[in-house]
Subunit: 266 residues, 4 copies
């Protein structure tokens, strides 16, 4: 009897690329809000999702640097279960509800890549880095303090795809207009059978369900953001016409579920 | 209208992690035949697949070092589309037909990881290396010649999982008893919806369909093989009780299809 | 006029692998004290350095996860200037003074590799990971708290070289018997001229000079440590006969100097 | 008695980052000749080296993909001893002799990085890729044939630094005007002692000595080349005003020596 939440299924279930939920995440994030061209970003939306007319073009560039664990102390295997990721989130509407549509995301770890595909995040491999803060005072520490600066970048296969910087101005109680929408993604798994390459086996619009979301150490300031042009990617057309606030915060949440909004294979 | 064979689907279809088939592969391979314990390896088989009683425990460790292209000159983007992989193949039977069951495989590239999942290869990320042969005579060249030696290794997340060596003895016309079975894998894509974690959306037993398979520069000799114990893997239990011949050859083939043998969700 | 502290020297001095000192470091560390076999570890000492008879075999396995900056906001280039390292430190004596001899160390970044060689740290490339602590409560957070556990590991070229774990027991005011010795290393740069391969151009025994050393958030507990055998390394012979306390702390310090103890080319 | 050609010196000499010469190399190369602005490239020359007035601005972009061995079958440890590199070579003159000055080079392996510094190549870490040719006919094979195309690229820390392409036109007997100059580099190892940061311990102008150089399978065609702008590098100012021929060939050579042209510390 083979076991495991994902392939490879194995006698003990220890070989699976991703362990069974619940999945727990704790990390640090750097985010920059920006506005892109709604006449372009509209073309990244799947059927049934519209741009939010009240904030047309408002988007978020989100960098995360986090630790993962499931039920077997995965956080004690840091070579496998620490990850760094990048996502773009577009303000959008699904059947009248405010959502954030995630057209592209990147991560630096195979287990995270697979978790993403299962959750409806279309992850590809990227090298993601962000300035970290350390406890002791030093020119190298990047303290959480007024005027402190944090950078982040993401590249894939040698192409720089995103550069960001946040200059902290003040501590905040909440994220105020950031990440206040449920994230919507798309679970997609194609068929390879001849003649069926355009008939995916799985094509579901899904809303992420996050439990026990905690956000702390929130700092707000000014953002800078740039999406350089790169071959083999379509991220740059979502790049900023205008850049807004920047945020730096710590987070944790858990995942055991996903809400299926629509079966797009139908 | 979003395009792309895989997610992320995008306006131009250029962002997809894997391009549409046909997929073409050309590369070099190092293979070692071995026998493991059938009382253990039988537990890696899915329902309906049996070990081959005529060659109980006969298996192949296969290292590949290859270049990929689809329709858009992907081979001219070597940072994205060169890959190195490792697979274990077990001699098995499906409904009376001789097959090779592939319980575990590893690759060093995100596009190859995703292609594998779509083809029914349960790939995880591994760092795979094999000695290469070069055209000019040198102590560093590893010529295709009698007594020439080739090594290969694979590690994942810092754990050494496989070590192999082949000492060439003679050039051969064909692979003679190696890779003469169609490879069977399992397409598997789980559900994340609460209560359905053990009801995969896709669970298909599939037989790989390779077109235009070419094998050349075949050398046969003696193999050495070792599967060290490693945390988070179940490869080592398939390790060799006895090691047989080693092979070094070049190959090419194309993929546009997969044959579905059984829907295991039923 | 070419500029730069290291090669490549360039018109603007921006291409140099390592910028000019002062160098500032801030990070987190995981350390495990252990005792190895003094009859073996004595063979890793250079001329003039002896094992400390008062603590024969007492050694430290030190993992660091840190950010670097020099004078040009290098900490805002996290892809280049974050590093993770591992070192072994042996209790030793130089001319009657208690020192820590560093026979082997590893780091995951080219700029850090070169800084190490200049400082007298014989760095090689290693993939180093340690469990991190995050600010929000979660199963994934690894809080600084009683019974919290942290793991670390280091591998090089696919071989696992070190595994460690620390279980926190209590917060401490100081490191009490850990890292209370000045670290001694060896600056070594060989000649390649024929006939002079064993006459290095630089061979200096040096004592590291750290300014503004700060240590905070110190937790002490129990350590676990293992040096697996690996090809192409000699770390395992320094492995633990006995393991003692484990430590987790944050640090910062600066470097502008090194003290030359002896010119070993003489 | 500690052994090893480089640090870390160890009881058995097996831990050294680079083994003792002779060093043997075998590999494939892609090269593009180009002309940059001599008024700019002149500023990358050290004292005593001049641009070649007969070919002012003529330069070569050289990508290599190779296997290394010394005396202990290092080629059987492919995870450690395969490397891919990139160099820029400028036509120059040293005391009336035609040389190629190598201001910048990159490699993807720690042992190769250190060998480079010892040989006078100012290597930094780069991810280097080139299209490979495989023995079996396939859309993925990139045969050595008329109109076949090969690409190469190099990135460092997520920045794309070089892109090249060569379209093969005809097989050639020799390299005809390419790599017909001895390569000159600079061995440079700084002091860290306070007050001496600008007084390197080693600063030698050196001419590389290659034994048993073999070049085969030479194809000549048209080159394309681009040096994108990148932070933390000064490569782009050497970028092409005009691009010439492209080359693809296989090579092998050995190294046991370097010729010291001048001691620049004097």
């Amino acid at each position: 009897m083979l076991k495991g939440f994902t392939a490879p299924r194995s006698p003990l279930g220890a070989a699976a690329l991703a362990p069974s939920p619940p999945w727990h995440f704790a990390g640090d994030a750097l985010a920059v809000e920006f506005w892109n061209d709604p006449d372009i970003s509209v073309h990244t939306l799947p059927t049934g999702v519209e741009l939010d007319k009240d904030s047309r073009g408002h988007s978020v560039a989100l960098f995360t640097d986090y630790q993962f664990t499931a039920q077997n102390n995965e956080y004690l295997d840091p070579a496998r279960y620490q990850s760094r990721g990048f996502s773009v989130l577009l303000d959008a509407i699904w059947k009248g509800t405010r959502i954030a549509w995630r057209p592209y995301c990147y991560v630096d770890n195979d287990a995270a890549l697979m978790r993403g595909w299962i959750q409806g995040y279309p992850r590809k491999f990227g090298a993601v880095h962000q300035t970290r803060t350390f406890a002791t005072a030093s020119a190298a520490s990047a303290p959480l303090a007024h005027d402190s600066r944090f950078s982040a970048c993401m590249s894939a296969h040698g192409w720089l795809l995103v550069q960001a910087r946040v200059t902290l101005r003040e501590k905040a109680e909440g994220l105020v207009g950031l990440l206040d929408r449920r994230i919507v993604g798309r679970r997609y798994f194609p068929r390879l059978s001849a003649g069926l390459h355009d008939k995916p086996a799985v094509d579901e619009l899904v809303r992420c369900v996050s439990d026990r979301l905690l956000i702390t150490n929130i700092w707000v300031g000014e953002g800078e953001l740039n999406f350089p042009e790169a071959y083999g990617e379509e991220l740059e057309v979502l790049g900023p016409l205008k850049v807004g606030r920047g945020y730096r915060f710590s987070f944790s949440y858990s995942v055991t579920d996903v809400e299926i909004l629509a079966d797009l294979t139908a």
